[in-house]
Amino acid sequence: MVRRKIVAATGCPTGIAHTFMAAESLKKAAEEMDIDIKVETHGQVGIENGLTEEEIREADGVIVAADKDVNTERFHGKRLVEVPVARGIRDPKTLIKQIVNEEASIHHVKGHTVKTETDDSKKDKIESVSKGKKNIIHSIYKNLMNGVSHMLPFVVGGGVLIAISFLFGIHSADPNHETYNEFAAFLNKTGGLAFSLMVPILAAFIAESIAKRPGMVVGFIGGLLANDGGAGFLGGIIAGFAAGYIIILLQLLLKKLPQSLNGLKSIFLYPLLGIFLIGVVMTPLMVPVQELNTSMMEFLSNIQSTNPLLLGIVVGAMSGFDMGGPFNKAAYLTGTALLAEGNLYFMAGVSAACIAPPLIIAFATVFFRRYFTKEEQNAGLVNFVLGSTHITEGAIPFAAKNPIVVIPIIMLGSSIAAVLTYMFGVQVPAPHGGFLVLPVVTGAIKWVFSILVGSLVGAVIYGLYRKKIANNLPVEE
């Protein structure tokens, strides 16, 4: 992974303390964020660690945290964040993010402005081409993270509301059921609405990270299409990236249009063409998803009576793979269908495999606390609630950050839970509700045991993985 480079200059009137505190604070923050930084200090002893022209040229952006002049003319044409020295001490990460996320505006010095248009666009082009190659992995991660962090509150808020509604009885939101409760139905509906926005928000903000606001619009629609088509969060990730690059493509294609049409482009052409194109891309993708769904359900019904080990692995892997996507749904729907036919065994495994993923996350954030951010630790605790109530989606924000590694871990944990459940011959007569249905479960203790074993194994592996990528260092104090 090629590192981003930032240069910075700090200074304060006395030049004794704050100049250096800001410099240190920026350096520490950059280190944590895996970014190269060089900080020039304008202290009382003069300028130390001065920036060279070359370093400025190669930098992705410039941070100036100073209450005195630090000669910003040098930074003409660079992304520049200029703040008082105190912000540099207090809030270094935000400043760095403004450069990394390309939110900071380009610094223009009067007198240079005449030739900037052509100069900058040329330079930008060269930079983006060479950067594009080097930073692909980093930028994919960055884009994913942007989507995940915006999605998280929807998952947490919506998930907990749904979980609370289950407390009134797992059918309490169904007007035709005897346990119907108006307030529970309201909670369930509101939470469900927040949940249904999860995938669109994920897609929207992946695309926003790639192509700013025009991307967000198109990503949102792409995410809605993925959601409607039952493609789950993996579909949402695809939609987000597709949407972002559709806008990048449109920007290239529309480059030749005269400058005077710039306003028209962003308010009319990008949304119109972008939304049309994301529809064209996503719609055909959804057809195989649905076919996949049907054929998987047939497949599952056919193997329902094979040996518990095989069945458990298949059910666990499917449930854990996309958590609410087509594979998970196929397993779940097969479970409800078989339940209607009187097979209480099959559903027990599906439920176990659906309960395990959030618990894997929850246990990992407790046992390996140091390697998760504060935000993740809090979301991790919520996952205890979501897991206990069979709301698999709680694990999605964690899985989406690094699907290639995290999903197999979750699949393994879910499989263990399902295999054990089938081996014990647990019977679960309810299609949802998690541990709230324990009173009607036959073999409740064995069932909980199976789920805990699967969750703990997954949690330990996931925790060790987090420890490794954090280089054994705590993420936050």
Binding site: I16, A17, H18, T19, F20, A23, I89, R90
Partner: protein, 155 residues
């Protein structure tokens, strides 16, 4: 070079409960140890600096500092108060751990200034701050600060 930090420059259980009070304690220590010729000038200098922008940063730490003709030799004076004092710190927490940097007006050499800048850098480190907080005696704390200003890590 004479040590800028000595156990005598430290007061760990000061009773001051206002900004003015803290500055007075710092100034008194400076007078007692021949760091400055006028306590009033030191207080005035610290107040002036404070009025430009707060020197408090986080977790109760603040670094009031001044450069004044009344200061005769560069020194670090440390005062730790029993109660927290509002210092408009970045995290809105009251300050109680004051590392005061006193610098003569005509400080020619850069050595002392560099030492102070490395102390400022060290203070941004959570572990280092914790160590400072954990120090039980003047000697212990003086030793820690001494380490901080002599182990200048270069960029």
């Amino acid at each position: 070079m004479k040590k800028m930090i000595q156990p005598e420059f430290i007061q760990l259980y000061a009773t001051a409960s206002s900004q003015r009070g803290v500055f007075q304690v710092i100034a008194d220590i400076a007078i007692e140890n021949n760091i400055a010729s006028s306590a009033d000038e030191v207080v005035k200098g610290l107040q002036e600096r404070e009025s430009q922008s707060t020197t408090g940063f986080q977790d109760g730490f603040a670094i009031p500092h001044t450069q004044s003709e009344a200061i005769t030799k560069p020194a670090i004076v440390i005062v730790r108060t029993e109660t927290g004092i509002d210092w408009e710190s970045f995290d809105d927490k009251p300050a109680f751990f004051f590392l005061s940097l006193l610098i003569p007006k005509e400080e020619a050499g850069t050595t002392h200034l560099q030492a102070l800048s490395s102390l400022s850098r060290v203070l941004m480190d959570n572990h280092a701050r914790q160590k400072f907080l954990d120090a039980q005696t003047n000697e212990e704390l003086a030793e820690l600060v001494e380490q901080a200003i002599t182990s200048r890590e270069d960029n």
